[in-house]
């Protein structure tokens, strides 16, 4: 018997579903609209920053600004400081995250849930808010050092200088490593470890030779993310008074020397360069190393029971980390209720008047945040759905570029984008009025939208990938046009992903400061993040600032929780559950049987 298989197996990828019908005018229109947005509000402003950094006063190409940058001692110092802080933050974040990730995957104990919670808590608070709180707790005259001084006669200088920045940043950003590493560890097939044990490798050697290398891509992804975030962070060093880093220097140059000063642009280019380098490094580490070896039917690495002693040690470590991670939250909460809090471990008296102040003075800020972030996140999901549909479901030429450009905005620090806007739209007015474009809140909203677009985009792409093409084809064969199919089938099925994308964009935009700080031109248009920063500038403002911070944390926490719930629900609703029920015979068959 022979059944020769043909070599030419018909390509039936999802992308080819519409290949026959060609590219419709609507597709071109959508692609053009997305491209126009990306060019106008992302590519051109950033391009403008690059051009300014490399052009002389008379318009010729030059490296002069860069040599000027490196010939200034202050600038060189800022450069090295930034590198040092970013690297050390990644190292300390790793020290916190690696044992936690290992514990959750390896051992069977309740702390695992605690660690998962830990993983989100720091992210729901802007780091610069945490900085103020940590100053109060770990600073020179903070609670911990006061207690240490009183009881043991020494103090810990952890909030001094750059160390303080490193401390705040690593506490804030370690979840990136924790989450990536946990996923990577979970995807290791238990057989990998068992094979190593079978060959006589145990304990630490097993961890270093087998488990960690297999999870390394996840670790590198997380660590490079921490590096980029810290390198770009503007708010934390500013609040802590550490201005000799690149981001604060760029900010000071632009705000104090002026928009014409080339050094601000040079710093911007350097920051983008490092972001891209770190991301390229992580992409390279991940490339061809999809180590998620988990087989169908295989289990992930076996969980073990902890011995009593080890259990105590693990809980102690987790408890310690939990306390550290929560200290900014606790600090902010205490500060928001504190009447007076100075040179004492705890506030001397409590009050709710800061909240009253905030609601009286700053309700506009809360509204601004809701308005800007709501619009930005809405724009993001519209763009995200459009790009996702274009790349996954159409044959539009060069459609991948839309994805690449939109994702590239991850590598652009907020302050750089803001500088680009100020420069590109300089002097432009809203048509028909004398209002400067750069003086409107629309710029802030657009900056948020561009910077948070990758989150919404990834979420939408993932959601659309879950929708099998045949679900759309079924609608089409039943008489629904492309547009109706998108309306009635595609978008409803993507709803969970779209909402998750919206919330992620919204909450991350709500705590963004680096673009905001440059683009806010009047106090009336300030969002909450800027308001907190303003309050924190004065000692008297710390109370209301903290109260506003607590509100911001509340908004972000509720949003995070909501998106989690929605994603879980839709996941459950659409999950394929095997149902075993006997089929009643078809009436047609019975009827036919009776007749004959």
């Amino acid at each position: 018997m022979s059944a020769p298989l043909s070599a030419a197996s018909g390509p039936r990828g999802p992308g080819l579903a519409t290949s026959g019908s060609g590219t419709r005018p609507g597709v071109w229109l959508a692609g053009a609209a997305v491209l126009a947005f990306l060019l106008l509000f992302f590519v051109l402003p950033v391009g403008r920053v690059f051009i300014t950094a490399f052009l002389d006063g008379d318009g010729t190409f030059t490296f002069g600004h860069f040599s000027a940058f490196f010939s200034q001692g202050l600038m060189r110092e800022a450069f090295y400081n930034s590198l040092y802080v970013a690297v050390m933050s990644a190292v300390f974040a790793a020290l916190i995250a690696v044992p936690l990730a290992y514990f959750t995957v390896r051992f069977d104990f309740r702390g695992a849930i605690l660690i998962q919670t830990l993983g989100v808590l720091p992210l729901i608070m802007p780091p610069f808010v945490g900085a103020v709180a940590l100053q109060l707790i770990f600073g020179r005259s903070g609670s911990v050092n006061l207690l240490l001084q009183e009881n043991f006669g020494f103090t810990l200088p952890i909030m001094e200088g750059l160390n303080g920045v490193i401390f705040v940043e690593s506490i804030h950003y370690f979840p990136f490593i924790l989450m990536n590493l946990t996923v990577a560890l979970r995807n290791i097939d238990g057989a990998m470890e068992e094979a190593a044990m079978n060959l006589g490798c145990t304990g630490w050697r097993l961890f270093w030779r087998v488990i960690f290398p297999l999870a390394a891509p996840g670790f590198v992804a997380g660590a490079s993310l921490v590096f980029v975030k810290v390198f770009d962070d503007l708010g934390t060093p500013l609040v802590m008074g550490q201005t000799n880093l690149l981001a604060p220097q760029a900010y000071l140059r632009i705000t104090q020397v002026g928009l014409e000063d080339p050094l601000g642009y040079v710093i911007s280019v350097i920051m983008i360069g490092f972001s891209i380098a770190a991301m390229a490094l992580s992409a390279r580490a991940l490339k061809g190393r999809d180590y998620s070896t988990l087989q169908k039917g295989g289990g992930s690495i076996q969980r073990r029971q902890l011995s009593a002693g080890a259990s105590v040690a693990a809980y102690a470590w987790i408890g310690f980390i939990l306390l550290l991670t929560l200290s900014p939250h606790i600090g902010v909460l205490l500060l928001s209720f504190a009447k007076v809090w100075s040179f004492s471990p705890l506030p001397d008296a409590y009050t709710v008047e800061h909240y009253a102040t905030v609601f009286q003075d700053s309700s506009g800020m809360i509204q601004n945040t809701l308005l800007y972030c709501g619009l930005a996140a809405g724009l993001d999901v519209v763009l995200g759905v459009t790009i996702a549909y274009l790349i996954l479901r159409t044959q539009l030429p060069a459609r991948q570029w839309l994805d690449w450009i939109a994702t590239a905005s991850l590598a652009v620090p907020g302050i750089v984008l803001a500088i680009g806007y100020l420069r590109l739209f300089k002097g432009m007015t809203i048509p028909g009025t004398d209002v400067l474009l750069t003086s409107t809140w629309v710029m802030i909203m657009l900056a948020y939208a561009v910077r948070r677009m990758p989150y919404a985009l990834r979420s939408c792409v993932a959601a659309l990938q879950q929708v099998h093409v045949s679900l759309e084809e079924a609608a089409e064969s039943l008489g629904a046009t492309k547009l109706r199919t998108i309306q009635r089938v595609v978008v409803p099925l993507m709803a969970g992903g779209i909402l998750a994308g919206f919330v992620t964009s919204f909450i991350t935009a709500a705590v963004e400061l680096s673009a905001t700080i440059l683009l806010v031109s009047a106090d009336s248009m300030a969002p909450m993040s800027y308001g907190i920063y303003l309050y924190m500038q004065s000692v008297a403002g710390r109370g209301p600032g903290a109260a506003l911070g607590v509100l911001a944390i509340g908004v972000v926490a509720v949003g995070t929780w909501l998106s989690h719930v929605v994603v879980e629900r839709t996941g459950q609703r659409f999950a394929v559950r095997p149902v075993d029920e006997d089929l009643p015979p078809l009436p047609t068959v019975a009827a036919q049987g009776d007749k004959s």
């Binding site: 043909s6 080819l16 290949s19 084809e473 089929l583 078809l586």
Partner: protein
């Protein structure tokens, strides 16, 4: 309802340089249950999707009821399709799924209610209208998919491997139900499958495809008994193939030398192909097995062989018998008290000459 025919004329389709369909010609009669059979990659699904409007051919015509539908997008064709994975929308109830096509056709509420109710009754799922697809078993989902398609009263019904996701007993039940439903509605139906048993047991006629070429079209029994080439012979049922050199041609018989077996005397069939070498083909059940030294019935052509392996299948035992350098499949009917031939034992194989088909090599 008017019964509608489907015609494919010189249809060619390529993805880049990969030719998926090469000059396909089909003429599907109104009201026919037609199967497209072929291995994966043969182009059968591509052809089905082409009729539905999801692929576009570069050459040729697709006529539905005499009209070329090539320029029409899927939503203007009124051709129903049941997908392999059913493609039920998880965000809609069973009722909403079935009502979808009618809503798109802007039917009024009362019509939708009557028709959807009737369609669900037709597939025996009237009580499941408010469930969601993921609360149904595989067989139930399949019926919803079917109801959703027939409720719009399509001109043609396309089924893309509709039974492949069901377990074996359910598959047999469903294919009988499908056929009964099709007969009742009189709906022209095209059915894609890679399972020859499924195609043979349901289809009025079928087309066997391989590498984008229609190999043969005909009723299942015709294809089984009179395959036009070795591919069809091997794909529709099991076939033994022995290459043989023509030693002598007479008016009524043919002497073939099969390597390692010796000379075979066969009666010449009317349409014996020319050529120096021919392929001798016969089904496993056209062979008798007997002990090596048994008395030989002269009506059969006998060959000595050795049992290599045996599979007991209940109704019969399938032996793999080595004959010379060839290995043949032989089905031996089983009865109570009958002993199996032992593996390694010498046997005689008797071939019934009337059951042999000769192919050109």
């Amino acid at each position: 309802m008017k019964k509608v025919g489907v015609v494919c004329r010189d249809v060619r389709l390529a993805y880049g340089k990969t030719e998926v369909l090469k000059n396909v010609n089909l003429n599907i009669e109104p009201g026919e249950f037609f199967a497209l059979l072929g291995p994966s990659g043969s182009g059968k699904s591509t052809l089905l999707r082409l009729i539905a409007g999801f692929n576009r051919h570069q050459h040729g015509e697709v006529l539905v009821d005499g009209q070329d539908v090539s320029p029409l997008p899927p939503w203007q064709r009124n051709i129903g399709m049941v997908f392999q994975n059913y493609a039920l929308w998880p965000h809609m109830t069973v009722w909403d799924n079935v009502a979808f096509g009618l809503v798109e056709r802007k039917a009024d509420k009362a019509t939708i209610k009557t028709k959807v109710g009737a369609a669900l009754e037709l597939v025996g799922l009237g009580a499941y209208a408010q469930r969601r697809p993921n609360q149904l078993s595989g067989g139930q989902q399949q019926r919803v998919a079917l109801a959703r398609t027939i409720v719009i009263e399509p001109q043609v019904l396309l089924l893309d491997e509709p039974l492949s996701n069901l377990d074996k007993t359910l598959r047999v039940q469903m294919r009988q139900e499908l056929l009964a439903l099709q007969r009742r509605l009189g709906l022209t139906t095209i059915f894609v499958t890679h399972d020859q048993e499924e195609a043979m047991s349901t289809a009025d006629r079928m087309a066997v495809l391989d590498q984008g070429v229609v190999q043969q079209i005909g009723a299942p029994a015709t294809l089984y008994d009179y395959p036009v080439n070795t591919f069809v012979a091997g794909f529709v049922g099991t076939m033994n193939l022995l290459p043989g050199k023509v030693r002598a041609r007479h008016s009524d018989r043919l002497t073939l030398e099969v390597q390692g077996v010796g000379d075979l005397q066969l009666p010449t069939p009317a349409e014996a192909p020319a050529g120096e070498t021919l392929m001798v083909s016969f089904r496993p059940h056209s062979l008798r097995v007997d002990v090596a030294d048994a008395v030989r019935d002269a009506r059969f052509v006998w060959m000595p062989g050795t049992i290599e392996a045996s599979e007991f299948l209940g109704e019969f035992t399938r032996y793999r018998v080595r004959v010379g350098t060839h290995s043949l499949a032989v089905d031996h009917p089983h009865h109570v008290g009958l002993n199996k031939f032992p593996v390694g034992g010498a046997v005689s194989l008797g071939l019934e000459p009337s059951q042999v088909r000769l192919f050109a090599v």
